[in-house]
Symmetry: C2
Subunit: 128 residues, 2 copies
DNA sequence: CGGTATCCCCCATGATACTG
DNA sequence: CAGTATCATGGGGGATACCG
């Protein structure tokens, strides 16, 4: 049980650590799904992303994409057609993040049943 | 519900998919840190967790732990001393999740600098 | 000590309408 | 089609006080 100092420099449990911000960004519901979708389907237009991710509003989609663009995770390309065409693509950094996100997604998929079972058991033990 | 399925598999981009709930739970800021801490340090008391995770309030800690307990990720043990002693431990399911979370954490560590650089570049390009 | 209950505020988010 | 602006709201989460 060593401490979890990867580099000895930063500790993610401390508020000022940049990783905390990174994890916070990743933690965002829509962000994960956006990355997942781009990873699975490659370059997509804004509208395609919107219809691919059920329930996301344009506002949230744009916001997520801006954040990801700022972090260097996605690249935004504008083609000056009329009407304008905008596409989003994962950068190399984004692709590497996509792999990590895929790991989480895979874990969720593989253990979904266990979790649902655990929830049922927990809930049943409480309603009586 | 049928629309939630693609080739017999669940699609995480659909709202009703259980993986979405799982990812949502994982996405929670504190939850990730709680799992990380338990993974790194093993069984801990409530107070130890609270002081290990900078900035978390008791309310949020308890809430996170309850959710994780419900999902079968952590086990809660109560020793009837006076005052009462409560410890939390990752279950086998929780340990496997811990590995996935560690992957994300490692990614964050490794690419922190790239992200910070990307942000600076992005911000500079916008302030005139 | 660990947890619950209560109050309350504020920000993230949704809805809507509008521009290029 | 992609994005911005504006307003309203609700619930997430902080502070506090109190139980077992």
């Amino acid at each position: 049980m060593d401490t979890d100092q990867v580099s000895g420099k930063w500790d993610a449990t401390k508020g000022a650590c940049p990783t905390r911000q990174v994890l916070g960004r990743i933690g965002d519901t829509w962000t994960m799904l956006v990355i997942s979708t781009l990873e699975a389907q490659g370059t997509l237009r804004s509208g395609q992303l919107k219809s691919a991710i059920e329930g996301i509003t344009q506002k949230m989609l744009t916001q997520s994409l801006r954040h990801l663009e700022r972090d260097g995770v996605v690249r935004r390309d504008v083609v000056p057609t009329v009407p304008v065409t905008v596409t989003y693509t994962l950068t190399p950094l984004g692709l590497s993040l996509g792999l990590a996100v895929a790991t989480m997604r895979t874990w969720a998929y593989q253990h979904m049943d266990e979790i649902v079972a655990a929830r049922n058991e927990y809930d049943e033990a409480r309603e009586t």
